[in-house]
């Protein structure tokens, strides 16, 4: 653990304050770490992933002796030093060729990890097509029933969402959307849910840029062009999140929930500001029942009375 630093001037104080926990978090910074051996293929994949994540990515391009599944202390140290919360570790070995490890950090502690092998790589450079602008938010597309049912694939899904799209934003410029990251799982032939030891089907990751064409209605029609990188992932080892840690990580502030429900600053029901700048509200008074209305009691209007009389006559 590092010693707690007391800021000596205003600038370092501001820098430290920027790192403090916030209610609405900043986008996650991702560190791409090269292990002891990374081949050319892994390098291109990491380079392309970094290009997608720019400007919130940091590259550790020197060789690092790191085995996240054996000792993750250096990941936690780097996270603390760089204020980063996701790691992508590349390592090529005979046993696990072209290995990528995604690791998520919560509160400077390791939350969970997911290891994948990368195959069938087509880099961004190989495809001579238009590329997306750095800094634009991607759309994400997941396609498979496994993303809802299988824990390994749910973990991969949230991991990729965190990697590319984790930041909570309140508005987006629709014309600024220009690329999509599509993640599809190969059809599972062995009925994974019942057979636990079956090999996990591969995951196809594709990236496309899209054009919005006029369709005659408000929503445009979409056409995709492959952008790259394209690769397939084979699931290998993983590390589940500690239950308590995950619970703490999923905690949401109560104020935010109240805010959204009461619509403070967001959607305020039945309230509007008119042209004069006055706040006007509408109140629904419910349907009015004429039976319960207090009226002048006239003998002729007493329907019940006549009936009572008739009853008395019958008996």
């Amino acid at each position: 653990m590092l010693r707690t630093v007391k800021p000596k001037n205003a600038r370092s104080k501001r820098a430290l304050e920027a790192r403090e926990p916030k209610e609405v978090e900043d986008p996650r910074t991702v560190i791409f770490v090269k292990g002891t051996h990374t081949g050319e293929r892994l390098n291109t994949v990491m380079k392309d992933l970094m290009a997608l994540k720019r400007p919130y990515s940091v590259s550790f391009s020197k060789k690092n002796t790191i085995r996240p599944f054996e000792d993750h202390s250096s990941l936690e140290f780097w996270a603390l030093k760089n204020d980063a919360s996701i790691f992508v570790v590349g390592q090529n070995s005979k046993k696990r060729p072209d290995n990528l490890t995604f690791a998520r950090i919560f509160d400077n502690r390791l939350l969970d990890m997911c290891e994948v092998g990368v195959e069938n790589i087509v880099s961004m450079e190989q495809l001579k097509t238009p590329k997306s602008t750095p800094g634009h938010k991607p759309l994400m597309h997941f396609s498979s029933e496994l993303f809802d049912s299988h824990p390994r694939y749910t973990q991969l899904k949230t991991m990729l969402m965190d990697l590319f799209n984790g930041q909570v934003i309140d508005s987006v410029c629709l014309s600024g959307l220009e690329h999509v990251i599509s993640v599809t799982v190969a059809p599972d032939t062995q009925d994974l849910i019942s057979a636990s030891s079956a090999t996990l089907p591969t995951v196809h990751v594709r990236t496309y840029t899209f054009k919005m064409l006029p369709s005659g209605v408000k929503t445009p029609r979409v056409e995709l062009t492959p952008m790259g990188p394209h690769f397939d992932l084979v699931l290998r080892r993983n590390r589940e999140a500690d239950e308590d840690l995950m619970k703490a990580a999923l905690k949401r502030s109560k104020i935010a929930k109240k805010d959204t429900e009461s619509g403070l600053g967001k959607k305020r029901k039945n309230l509007e500001v008119d042209e004069m700048g006055d706040l006007r509200g509408r109140v629904h008074v419910g349907s009015q029942s004429l039976d319960k209305l207090q009226r002048k009691k006239v003998k002729a209007l007493r329907g019940d009375d006549s009936e009572r009389v008739r009853k008395r006559v019958r008996t």
Partner: protein
């Protein structure tokens, strides 16, 4: 007028952007994500992988864009800006939720009294200079008295009377006071957060007070003739409490009955003595006599030692 043609044309246009699936696609517009939970068509997957993936992705993107364009939006020079709802998928945070900042002494007081915060501008208008100057800091207004080129000196002032020096000293004490209060606030906040009970400082204070109270009454006169130091507080003794002179009959009756009951009961000390006297031997006295007043433990030891030595084996 026949509008069926127009309607048909419109339906045709709608068709080009519609996405039809067995299970409707789940869109999470807050995170710009769409999830397609339909099982993958094995035939088209095996036929042409890339084409299948692209068409599948296109449908997903189209569905997501349909949802995004349906959101309330505001126009901007770069195109419509859609207002996103809060995300559905719960992603783990990178850092824990921020803890509420502990209140300072003043903030706490203001909250209790309902005093609302009033922002103090950093700049104030200087009538003489006819411009805005800082309230404090560089060329601050609070240094006005020190920097006067001419200052009034009272007639009976000392020879070394320096008005600017006095003003500076006053300002410096104000600053020091503020810094001390800030430090106290920090210390208080740390104490509150570290332990739920009283802070160590508070504990130490209580301990000292207790020791002082004991030492005061530890003289032969129980502190009656001790010199009282200047600024010494009168020690708080036990407060005697008296019953009211007039009390309800039931209460008086109950109190008297309790008293009689207590009188009937034999005191505990006597009981203990009786125990020993009851038997033939008074053990306490016997031990005292045999051990020569050294107690039962010493007696036991000496007896044991005598036996091991084997002085007298009968």
């Amino acid at each position: 007028m026949d509008v069926s043609d127009i309607l048909a044309e419109r339906a045709e246009k709608q068709k080009s952007i519609a996405v039809e699936r067995e299970i409707p696609l789940e869109t999470d517009t807050g995170l710009l994500t769409v999830t397609d939970l339909n099982p993958i068509d094995l035939e088209s997957y095996n036929e042409d992988l890339e084409a299948f993936l692209q068409s599948n992705a296109r449908d997903g993107v189209q569905a997501l864009l349909n949802a995004l364009f349906a959101l309330p939006s505001t126009p901007s020079p770069d195109g419509p800006v859609a207002k996103l709802p809060p995300p559905i998928t719960q992603l783990p945070r990178a850092k824990p939720l921020p803890k509420p900042k502990p209140l300072t002494k003043w903030e706490k007081f203001a909250k209790e009294k309902g005093i609302s915060h009033r922002k103090r501008e950093k700049a104030v208008w200087d009538e003489e200079k006819q411009e805005w100057v800082n309230r404090w800091g560089w060329k601050g207004k609070n240094k006005e008295l020190e920097e006067q080129w001419l200052a009034e000196v009272p007639a009976n002032a000392d020879t070394d009377h320096d008005p600017s020096k006095i003003a500076r000293k006053e300002r410096k004490t104000r600053v020091a006071k503020n810094e001390r209060q800030m430090a106290q606030n920090v210390a208080r906040a740390q104490g509150e957060s570290a332990t739920s009970g009283p802070s160590t400082r508070e504990q130490r204070k209580n301990e000292i007070n207790r020791t002082l109270a004991t030492s005061r009454v530890s003289t032969a006169s129980m502190g009656r003739f001790d010199k009282v130091l200047e600024g010494e507080k009168k020690s708080k003794g036990l407060k005697r409490k008296f019953e009211p002179a007039e009390a309800p009959v039931e209460q008086e009756k109950a109190a008297n009955l309790a008293l009689i009951q207590r009188m009937e009961k034999e005191p505990r000390q006597k009981k203990a003595k009786k125990d020993t006297v009851d038997g033939v031997l008074n053990v306490r006295k016997a031990i005292r006599a045999t051990s020569g007043g050294r107690g039962s433990v010493a007696l036991g030891k000496s007896l044991k030692g005598g036996r091991t030595k084997g002085k007298s084996r009968r």
